[in-house]
Amino acid sequence: MSKFPSAITVAFVALAATQAMAGDTFGLGREALPEEIAAWDLDVRPDGSGLPVGSGSVADGERLFSDNCAACHGEFAEGVGNWPELAGGEGTLADADPVKTVGSYWPYLSTAWDYVHRSMPYGNAQSLEPDEVYAIVAYILYSNFLVDDDFVLSNENFLEVEMPNADGFIVDDRAEAEYPQWRREPCMTACKDSVEITMRATVLDVTPDEADTN
């Protein structure tokens, strides 16, 4: 076999290595303008970075919430039908049916502000002014008995609001709590003495009928 092909291969490998090593960019795309970044970079973080200057009261929030949110979340943020409840549920997280709301579950107030601002109202997203978002978030806090009815939320006092479940989260610990016990040679024979059916899905009868969904 000729050496010629392998010489070509070497040349190509060398060329590829040169390109990769140079860390060259491709010169594609264009620089984002400050106005463009300002229009899209809206996220707000737990330390309050990203919050615009502004404020809103519980009283204003009650009116805004009624107009923009209550159809799904209820006048008192208690939720309508299958739509999310935003208030209540304190002390239920260890119950059989935990009620997870902004008050009982959400660890950061920034999350509520960020979500209302970027993703709500449902079907009319990004239509609220910052002061309106402050007011609605203030009302959600009030609905959870976390602030008084004369409270005004602003970028100034944002970090002073204490979220009840702020310490309720741990970082994924499956690598310690689960993986060691499940990384083992599995049983193949005589793994159980007896097997009984303990529950049947058909008893609940909550599976959609296929004819109905076709």
Partner: protein, 424 residues
């Protein structure tokens, strides 16, 4: 015409029971009389079929019209912020056709033209950039097959057997071959010197739809195998999967695979957005909750026989088949039990497992009408063995909602019908 191919499940099972009674195992059955399908010329053997112009883009033949995504109406408040399920009970192989691959939207499937598409990279980068769709196609591309599983797949089964079908218990998953650009390439194009030490940096990724779904991803993963993808299974993404561009985050929960991705921000910490605090966190029995549970652990399910795919034939040869996958890497082995976990036999993998992709397994066996409690148990390359539901509940309780990768049990009855059960 198509109605005659949608028999009710009950009628269908009557038919299969009759077939079972008429056959004996071991030998081919003898026909009572010549089959007219063979002895008499049929219409399709006499007249023309469709011309090549009839279907410029083909759909499945009408006889397969029941192989569709299905919704569980009571799960969500409406169908806009909702999810449907892949008909895994009726598919084979590993690649999920886009047209029946599950959808999960938070504000509906939007229509965004390539011409109107923009992708911004900003934050701690040397130069914030805006790319058009055409720009993305000029970067070096890669092809990879990956599964995408919603973190809530099997989530309705924590407290007990609830939904009667593999489509509903395990159908929040699809597996496609993607073409796209490594996220690493785009981040390097913007320059990461400004980010300094990358070890504690994150990227926040955000969609262009009204939900503006946003998730924080550690830089280590972002630079590893995350893909900015625009083709799936050879063609453009479907709008319901993020046309024209989505993020692919191999092995990690589907919510992070942001669709219609419009912005990637390099940050020095996570945003702690709604989708990574109030949702996609796993509440344990004591009320504390795990966050950042991104990886989907090893899991498997028998897709046939299963409640929507009962045994339709008589006694004798039976193919038991299913899917296995792991967010930690390749599937190395799948065991199947017919007796609810007392004894196990190792199934045949259709192909060697591939990293973070679905693996098809088969157990070629014999069935003589006996009841079975069918289970599958996956192992991945880390040596992890898929746990039982009781083992999972022992650690997590019943309120985790997400990341339920328990062993599933189907009770196959003497008539071939199957139901979703839990066993001791």
């Amino acid at each position: 015409m198509s109605d005659s191919f949608k028999p009710s499940r009950r009628a269908f099972l009557r038919g299969s029971a009759a077939a079972a009674a008429g056959l004996t195992a071991g030998t081919a059955a003898r026909a009572q009389s010549p089959d007219p399908l063979i002895t008499e010329p049929q219409d399709w053997a006499i007249y023309f079929g469709d011309s090549v112009d009839a279907h410029p883009y083909g759909m499945p033949i009408e006889y397969e019209s029941d192989v569709i995504r299905r919704n569980v109406e009571w799960l969500t408040a409406d169908t806009i912020s909702s999810i449907n399920f892949t008909p895994i009970h009726a598919l084979d192989g590993t690649i999920t056709p886009q047209g029946c691959a599950f959808e999960r939207h938070h504000s509906g499937a939007i229509e965004l033209r390539k011409e109107d598409y923009r992708l911004m990279i900003n934050g701690l980068v040397d130069t914030p950039l805006v790319f058009t769709y055409d720009d993305l196609e000029r970067f070096p591309r890669e092809n990879h097959v990956y599964f995408c599983e919603c973190a809530a797949n099997t989530g309705m089964e924590w407290a007990g057997a609830q939904l009667n079908g593999a489509q509903f218990t395990h159908g929040m998953i699809h597996n496609m071959e993607y073409a796209g650009v490594p996220l690493r390439t785009l981040l390097e194009e913007a320059g990461l010197d400004a980010a300094g030490d990358l070890a504690d940096k994150w990227v926040f990724v955000e969609g262009a739809d009204a939900s503006s779904n946003g998730r924080s991803i550690p830089m280590e993963k972002a630079l590893d195998d995350v893909l900015v993808a625009f083709k799936a299974n050879g063609e453009a993404l479907r709008k319901e999967h993020g046309y024209p561009v989505r993020l692919v985050v191999p092995g990690w929960e589907g919510n992070m695979w942001v669709k219609w991705i419009r912005r990637i921000e390099v940050m020095d910490g996570p945003v702690e957005s709604r989708e990574e605090t109030s949702k996609y966190t796993d509440t344990l029995a004591d009320g504390t909750s795990r966050k950042w549970t991104w990886v989907m652990d090893a899991k498997s399910v028998i897709t046939s026989p299963s409640p929507q795919s009962p045994i339709k034939h008589g006694h004798g040869p039976l193919v038991i088949s299913g899917l296995a996958w792991s967010g930690h890497g390749a599937i190395t082995r799948v065991d199947v039990s017919k007796d609810g976990g007392k004894t196990w036999e190792t199934a045949r993998l259709a192909k060697p497992g591939e990293k973070m992709a679905l693996t098809r397994f088969y157990l070629d066996t014999t069935w003589n009408g006996e009841e079975m409690l069918l289970q599958a148990r996956a192992m991945d390359e880390t040596g992890y063995v898929q746990p039982t539901k009781d083992e999972l509940r022992e650690v997590r309780g019943e309120n985790s909602i997400y990341h339920n990768n328990c062993i599933q049990t189907w009770h196959v009855m003497q008539n071939g019908e199957a139901e979703n059960v839990e066993v001791s």
